[in-house]
């Protein structure tokens, strides 16, 4: 637990510094003015949430391929962190959109696909909480995570594929240099926090799984039905 705690602490420190620079030192955006400062928290959240779902996808393939519960724990942990970040992402986007677009929400391709991503990975977590059999849970949550990941490239490319209200991809060339430091620092901050949180969650879920697998009360298979006695023998 030492290195994940350190990772989380470093992440929060980086995020605090990045947000201080973003809020008080970086100049306001030319057209969005102060509202542009929301990008220092919104954009890194978006990057890292997509990264979390990529990790969940790779772990889902690993768990289906090997059947090992370590991969299964990683699917659950990275999906959970990704869902929390996506919820934040949608909130930050809405708060940014109100003064900029004049509405909290628009059924724009990027926004809609992001909301779908949130719901689909939420379903992965819901499935996990509903299934008690660890082997069945491993298979079904891995399949659900792979299916949910189909939406991630759609989220990423939506601004290219469709005529989206959302801005297109930015790159260091299209963004003022004064925005680079707070954006990158915040991205590393959220990344470190996410790595730490995923590591702690993997350990917790792994311990829970070990407990479930060693539980003596659980029968290895369903008991046979005794039809003469009119119930379960």
């Amino acid at each position: 637990m030492k290195w994940p705690s350190l990772c989380i602490a470093v992440g929060f420190a980086l995020l605090a510094y990045a947000h201080y620079v973003g809020l008080f030192e970086a100049p306001s955006e030319r057209y969005m003015q102060n509202v542009g400062r929301i990008l220092y928290v919104h954009v890194p959240t978006a990057w890292i949430s997509l990264l979390c779902f990529l990790v969940a996808f790779i772990a889902a393939i690993g768990s289906l391929w090997t059947g090992r519960y370590g991969w299964d724990a990683l699917v659950a942990a990275s999906s959970e962190v990704g869902v929390v970040l996506t919820a934040l992402l949608l909130f930050q986007g809405a708060v940014w959109a109100k003064p900029t677009w004049g509405t909290w929400w628009a059924w724009d391709p990027r926004l809609t696909s992001s909301a779908m991503m949130f719901v689909m990975f939420g379903v992965v977590l819901l499935l996990r909480s509903l299934i008690s059999d660890p082997a069945r849970r491993l298979t079904l949550s891995a399949v659900a995570a792979i299916l949910a990941f189909v939406d991630v490239p759609i989220v990423y490319f939506s601004v290219k594929w469709w005529n989206s209200l959302h801005q297109e991809w930015s790159s260091p060339e299209t963004v003022s240099q004064t925005m680079h430091l707070p954006l990158r620092m915040a991205a590393f901050g959220v990344l470190f926090i996410s790595i730490g949180l995923i590591a702690v969650r993997v350990k917790t879920i792994r311990a829970q799984l070990d407990g479930e697998l060693q539980e003596p009360d659980l029968p290895p298979e369903a008991p046979p039905l005794d039809l003469d006695a009119g119930g379960v023998s």
């Binding site: 955006e29 030319r30 929301i38 934040l88 109100k98 677009w101 004064t178 925005m179």
Partner: protein
């Protein structure tokens, strides 16, 4: 009578209202541009704005503009705004946009604080929840 009713409905149609995003942005977006410099090094270089085009979409050319070279104002290529150009910002004394064009967003601090505040609160609460769940799991392992 039908013709008069039709004409009255047509004239009162919202489609004839001024095409702008100002109505929905009222309170947050000002059509009047108060293009003030917030930071950066000022100098006296003056740069004429392009003349107003027929469609009224380009900036008015009859205003006084101060240009500040360097990275005085950060800019992105999106959010409904235009792509970054030379990296200067302007100061104008008069209206810099034609009627119906939204200018800069003013008074957006409350949105910024809301986004940052909620993000920090959620991240801290989620971190505490993760750590507490880990501690609970460790305790249950020790007790068993």
């Amino acid at each position: 009578v039908r013709a008069w009713i039709f004409a009255a409905l047509f004239l009162s149609s919202p489609a004839l209202a001024e095409p702008s995003g100002e109505e929905s942005n009222s309170g947050e977006v000002s059509a009047e541009s108060d293009l003030s410099i917030e930071s950066g090094e000022e100098n006296s270089v003056r740069r004429p704005l392009p003349p107003l085009s027929e469609d009224g979409l380009t900036e008015a050319g009859d205003e006084e503009v101060d240009a500040t070279p360097g990275d005085a104002t950060a800019s992105t290529n999106g959010g409904g705004s235009v792509e970054a150009d030379a990296g200067y910002e302007t100061t104008a004394t008069g209206p810099s946009y034609a009627d119906g064009m939204a200018g800069k967003i003013e008074d957006g601090r409350r949105f910024v604080w809301a986004a940052y505040g909620v993000s920090w609160a959620v991240l801290i609460l989620f971190t505490l929840s993760v750590i507490r769940r880990w501690q609970a799991q460790e305790k249950s392992e020790q007790s068993s």
